[in-house]
């Protein structure tokens, strides 16, 4: 499968990645090779096969909606690249 510039740009948007011109060319080649390779699955007849997420039958786990973890704001914010007044600081998002 040939990967066009448009496809790579679109995937870049989905993946939130900005690729250099060189990286883009490499990505086109890598993705095209990989999609050709995984295309091997088309040899399999899966018409009557159900898609399997879990191999083990899990049931949803419910619990009461009660907060059990403490307030760790100060420690958590220590990992923030930027913080202000006890909040995460991000670039301006709207005017």
């Amino acid at each position: 499968m040939t990967i066009t510039d448009e496809t790579i740009d679109y995937v870049g948007i989905l993946a939130k990645l900005e690729l250099s011109a060189e990286e883009k060319e490499q990505a086109k080649k890598d993705m095209s090779d990989m999609l050709d390779y995984v295309g091997k699955l088309n040899e399999l007849d899966t018409d009557n096969v159900e898609a399997m997420s879990h191999t083990f039958p899990y049931n949803n786990v419910f619990r009461e909606d009660v907060v059990t973890n403490g307030d760790d704001r100060e420690n958590l914010l220590k990992n923030a690249p930027e913080e202000k007044d006890g909040c995460y600081k991000v670039p301006k998002t709207f005017d």
Binding site: T7, L14, L19, A27, D30, L35, K40, L41, M52, P91
Partner: protein, 492 residues
């Protein structure tokens, strides 16, 4: 006596008997890391010595007053750098987490601490566990103690090499597509990938959530069983954790395989497998047969479809899991940006390495509108067929025996240039993750260059005890061999 040359359980016994103090064991471990890690680069972060010695002192008290009675109390242990440890840098070997200090501890590591083990540091890995060589680490590659020009395997390469180099006596790794078993094989040590759901994933930085499992790496089967017994506990913080009461794995360390039915998949021994590995695996099967096991060859099927299935599912889950790294709450943020989206994009593009980007891109593509059914859903259907192939095999056999990897450790720098070729090296390990099964890798011989060869045993879900028993029985037929550089240490 070199304490790091002992097995974890032997060291634990000596501590319990009062022959060795916890402080002596901790000091021996820290000394070994200090002295040898510059040669192998097994660690991203080594714990602060003062803190380690303080931990050791507290644990000694608890052993002395009878609070801690477990077999590994006081034994030092290393953990892979994708498991959160409160207060210690946890990088996933990525630039994007180069400054991340977790505020909580992963459940599996918490269990080690409760059992009185001393955490000595965080081991090197492929970035976000994506790779089979530990060369994609942002912090430099780890070297194989058997030959420093060769890779230790991956992604838990730091943990496997640290055990082989006797910097530690045991370690935790994680296995998404072979990341415990393959480095164990390349470094001549033993590792177990438990059944999916057996060990809590809480606090393990996710790569492929439906495939990831934490497990032990150590010198022998006994150590792995003892570690697995400690970390296998139900955890309500992981919704895929399974509540079971059959975690007494050390009880399965029995030298008896009489009547055990072992299947050798014929389709594992065709093209691409190194002849030395083929011979070693057949020789191991013969040994088990001599001990009373019934060994048969059979056709497993689906072998050529496992890698395409795995890479679609793993990449899809990775692209979703790694969305959280956005330069806002933790981790790396780019220096200059124009707006929020530009900040996201630049932080991620500068923070992730090439292999991680490759998988995020592929994952984003196979999940995108128009391709979701053709690739992602197709892979989930293929996964169902792979599971079916195993179910059929386990109707007849207790264990599937085979190689861990088609080659022994490759030379540094040989793998990364051709991704698909590198992915093909995972052919024997990835289907085990797709089907959620337990697998063990243990040494079974050496190739023409003296590099270790691994033997893989796989059983049906939650039958870890069967592979532990068979692996233990096989292990009794051979001696543990140390890398030449490690064995020669005492003589200089």
């Amino acid at each position: 006596m070199d304490l790091m040359s002992l097995t974890a359980v032997t060291l634990g016994k000596k501590i319990k008997a009062g022959e060795v103090s916890v402080a002596e064991a901790a000091k021996a471990c820290m000394d070994s890391i200090e002295r040898y890690d510059s040669e192998y680069n097994c660690f991203v972060t080594v714990a602060d010595r003062e803190g380690v010695m303080k931990q050791a002192e507290e644990i000694q008290k608890k052993i002395d007053n009878g609070e801690l009675t477990g077999p590994l109390a006081g034994v030092p242990v290393a953990i892979k750098d994708n498991m959160c440890l409160n207060g210690m840098l946890t990088t996933c070997s990525s630039k994007i987490l180069s400054n991340f200090v977790p505020t909580y501890t992963s459940e599996a590591v918490e269990k080690l601490i409760e059992a009185g083990m001393v955490i000595v540091g965080k081991t090197n890995m492929d970035e976000f566990a994506m790779g089979s060589t530990t060369e994609t680490s942002y912090y430099g590659e780890t070297k194989n103690p058997w030959d420093k020009n060769k890779v230790p395997g991956g992604s838990s390469g730091g943990s496997a090499a640290a055990v082989a180099a006797e910097e530690v006596v045991c370690a935790l790794g994680s296995d998404t597509g072979g990341s415990i078993r393959q480095p164990a094989s390349f470094c001549g040590v033993t590792g177990i990938k438990p059944t999916y759901g057996r060990v809590s994933r809480y606090g393990l930085i996710a790569y492929g959530s439906s495939l990831d499992q934490i497990g032990p790496l150590a010198k022998d089967v006994t150590d792995c069983a003892a570690l697995l017994e400690i970390i296998s506990q139900y955890d309500k913080k992981d919704s895929t954790s399974v509540n079971r009461d059959d975690n007494d794995f050390t009880g399965a360390l029995v030298d008896d395989v009489k009547g055990l039915k072992i299947g050798l998949p014929r389709d594992y021994f065709s093209e691409g497998l190194d002849p030395d590995i083929k011979d070693a695996v057949y020789a191991a099967a013969k040994k088990l047969e001599e001990k009373g096991a019934i060994v048969e060859e059979f056709d497993l099927g689906m072998v050529e479809y496992t890698i395409p299935t795995y890479y679609i599912i793993a990449a899809a889950e990775a692209s979703s899991n790694l969305e959280r790294f956005d330069g806002v709450k933790y981790g790396y943020r780019t220096d200059s940006y124009t707006d929020l989206h530009n900040m996201y994009k630049k932080s991620r593009s500068e923070g992730f390495g090439p292999e991680v980007k490759r998988r995020i891109m592929l994952g984003s593509f196979v999940l995108s509108s128009g391709y979701y059914d053709a690739y992602y859903v197709k892979a989930l259907k293929a996964k169902a067929l792979i599971k079916r192939a195993y179910d059929k095999a386990f109707e007849k056999y207790d264990i599937i025996l085979g190689p861990v990897a088609p080659t022994t450790a490759l030379k540094m720098g040989e793998s990364l240039s051709d991704p698909i070729k590198m992915y093909l090296g995972d052919v024997y390990t990835v289907p085990v993750n797709l089907a959620g099964l337990p697998g063990i890798s243990l040494p079974c011989g050496y190739d023409r260059d003296g590099m270790p060869i691994g033997l893989q045993m796989v059983s049906d879900a939650f039958n870890e005890k069967t592979i532990i028993r068979a692996a233990y029985a096989y292990e009794q037929t051979r001696e543990y061999k140390r890398p030449a550089d490690v064995a020669e240490r005492g003589q200089n």
